[in-house]
Amino acid sequence: MNKSSKLSLRGLLLANPWGFIIPVLTGVAASVAGVALLGVSGWFISAAGLATAMGSALVFNYLTPGAIVRGLAILRTAGRYGEQVTAHNHLLGLLRILRLWVWDQRVAKQTASVHTQSRGDLLQRLVSDLDQIIRWPLVVFLPWLYALLGYLGVSLLVYCISPSLLWPLAVCAIWHLVLLPYLCGRMASHAVHVGQILGVHRRSRFVSLFSALVTLTIRGHWQDYAARLEQLDERQRRMEFAIQQAVSLGRLLGYLVTIVLLASVFWLLGDFSLQSGVWHLKQGVQGTWVVGLILALLAVNELVLPLVQSFVAQGQSQVGLRRLNQLQQPASARVSHAMASLTQLSLTEWRGFHIESGLGNQPIDFQMQSGDRLWLRGASGTGKSTLLASIAGDCMASGKAYVNQQACELYDNTGFQQHISYLPQSPYVFQQSIAANLRLGNPQASDEDMWAVLDAVALSDWVRGLENGLGTLLSSQGRDLSGGQRKRLVLARLLLRSAPLLLLDEPFDGLDKATIERICHALDNDYKPEMLILVSHIDSPLSAGARVIEL
């Protein structure tokens, strides 16, 4: 599956054709064996009964059919087992491919709009949509294939008994395999689509209600909100009812088709004689074979019944697929200008801004080169952080940027980002060990390097105090760390990178004076960056010799 290609059910089926063929073959063997088991044993018993009645029991070869019956029984079991195991192995492989596909789309997404998607929405896509899609071969494709093969097998038998039966068989096959699933799918498709949309809608309303619960309660208003949630739930329930109704009805109709088929088989094979008042089988039709046929038809009926669900599942898979495809990004959205080094940066008429709100800083001009240190100051709301983020390439900007005196696009430019380290206001700590978090800055960092940098940001004592030291696993989003610890840990990660340009957004918030001084000392000596841009509202040794830009 190509990184940037659109997802399609066909594409998924062909993603790993060999992995798919094995479960199909074993499943086919199991299904055919299942149908044949009933047919052959029916014929065997009938033939045995007939042989005794005709007095030819002693010459009847009973060993071969007996062995065939046992063989088919074992083949059916083994086939079913093999099918389930290999099919699930294939599905898990698909799951991996799909997950990575989602990841690639996320990576390809522009940095500034990465978070436009809520956590809940992403989780929903990741869990339930993927689930709907990977179920497709198991719920839709394979049962349909087995039913089709079941019908083909029976039609061979029918051809041997009386070719005239092929017509009713074909008509019923079309009903069972195509028309009924299609009709049920049609009946349910509206409900499936609406249900999926309602699901998302319901969740966002739930989060909305609960995120403002106290305010809504105080204002005597939450009942209204809760009532609307109930309404959505009620609609969802109606959709669920409609889907279930369609499936149950389809199954009932499937039975009816089988009954009609059985009746027509007897009608076409039988002759009514007025003299005796009984139905005879037509000339040349063997009673034993008819018994086998009827039993095989009953077995096919069992194969056909799950099919009515298949078009409903098909609808669900398609909705899931469409939702996942919404994540799809145009290929090569990122720019990358490889550059040897970063020694000079100048910005003219530069204004960073957020796409959604358009909020940002006043346009500014400045120039800096190796050895320079810049301190951005300004009242709250003047867009210091936005400006810094836009320099880091995280945020949209207008104006011109020159790197080493060459015009350069900063936004989402990997080549440029290799030369910078950016500490945002709320930095991210991964749910990995401390060492793994630090090594994101430099995969080659040794334990000594890590201890040294932890010492520089005044975290080494804390880490030494932990039971597992560097190997300590941090909890989700660094929730067990204080804000100051989180910031310092991420700063340590950045310092390991030793990029020429360091961008710091309020690095000293929530830190005491001694710690601030220690960090400043490190940034002035061992970990001194060539260029530094600092956003801070407090004085520090770091800002002492810096050029000030007032926003």
């Binding site: 739930f206 005597g220 991210y428 989700s476």
Partner: protein, 578 residues
Amino acid sequence: MAGSNEVSRAKKATRVKPPEAMFLGDLANQQAKRYRLAQGFGALFAVALVLQAWAFANVFSDMVLSQEFSIFFLMLALFALLLRALANYGRERVCASASRHIRYGLRHKLISHLTQLGPARLRIEEDAALSTRVYEQVDALDDYYSRYKPQVFMVTLIPCVILLSVIPVSWVAFWVFMITAPLVIVFMIFVGHKAAQANRRQFNVLAMLSNQFMDLSQGLAELKRLDRTGEARERLSYSAQVYQKTTMGVLLLAFLSTATLELFASLAIAMIALYLGLGLLEILPWQVGVAPVTLTQAMFLLLLAPEFYLPLRQLGNDYHAKQKAEAAATDLMSILNTPLSVQKAQVVTTEYTPSSVQLSYLSFYQLAWHETGRQRLAPITADIQQGERVWLSGVSGVGKSSLLHLLLGFEEGYQGQLFVKGKPFDQLDLSIWRSKLAWLPQTPEWVNGSIRRNLLLGITPPSDSAIQAALRDSQCEAFIKALPKGLDTPLTELGSGLSGGQMQRLSIARAMLSKAEVWLLDEPCSGLDTETADAVLETLEKVSQGKTLLMVSHDTHPIHWADKHWVLEHGGLHEQVV
């Protein structure tokens, strides 16, 4: 009869059921009527099954032996097939409806329980995770209630009916069924038990996998800057591969249990077919020359044989539904088992009202809050006058927020007394009291919608000039003007580029518009940098004049303009000079 009933009830009581099973069972009992109806349909189905087999057996044997068939038996067979279809249809609908009733009722209960818990719900989980429980986890019960639960009845009913109908036909077949059925069950339990354990571990691994994806996805901007997205992809790929491998290990075992079932069923069917065939040929080793069954009877047995094992095999397939439901039940129970605040049971015999209470707006007298042995709030005694502004500080966990939650009326299990304008708190009309409150928590509370909608949440819309005045006083005017859509800008879940300080200012504007008398603030500045926090506090000082205000704030953000400074400690309350 009555005696035996009692005995069985006593037995039931002593048998220890896991709480999940009890929970699921209780929910199912709510729909006992529907399930009884489903059992009725099930019985009809079983009868139709036997009827169909008998009728077809007659048709078949006539056809084989004399090339003719009786139209009566044919009609009967087709009628039985129709009956079976109808019974199945009815059963499916009834069970699905029972499942829907249970699930939607449960969801309703969960949501209203969570709303009543108020801020206490966050002790269970954050909201996004709660929404997963309320929606996905409740729906995870569907298979259990619509398929597994009714199937348990069918598993006992159908084999019994078939056994009964086989007795008059053939003892040998009866014994083949009798002997193989328990073997099948024993094997299923044996293998299924191991699979169940592995399955449970598997659930955890899957959750971890999603978690890892969400973690990496949330830190994606950082990974992109560090140019480490490739490594993250490899990590995801690797853990997915490990997951595939371990899952296959589990599935091999799980499918082995179904395969065992299938094998037994298939072999039993084959055995019966062989016995019947040889019997009909009169060459059974122990009965040479005698046919133990007629052809009709043989056909009858052959048709019933697969049906005997079918319900068991289906139950085996649906077994994971039970495990899924039990895993979900654990999560759902943890919500429902979080107690709502208990109404104060104790009758206050000595209605002691200190003299100061009459004069104060809010009075606490020996107000404390113990919950399950844990002290959430030490006994405090203090008064707040009308229009007084109080700064409450103290180390975290000492009960500052708990005091605010008490005042919001979400917790009623407190000890001691709490008076509002001289009236005991538990005698107040809670909705009237709450309408006088304004609430400003650490992270402002927003609903999905425009800024205007959020400002006017639940109040009669004031005039435009009043809105403008409130925005001006809370210093929101400038940044709202800068927004392209102004007041109609939607506040999405993640904010629209507004800073923390701006968001907090909006909630000040909202508090002003509500004309609340009492403002309760829970660390409104904790997420802000010092400079922004100072500016927000300055605004608060101006707009809250004349309001009765209780504000929790750390010493790092001192409230210099407060009339009183209370310091809450584990021993109680101390007043300090501001």
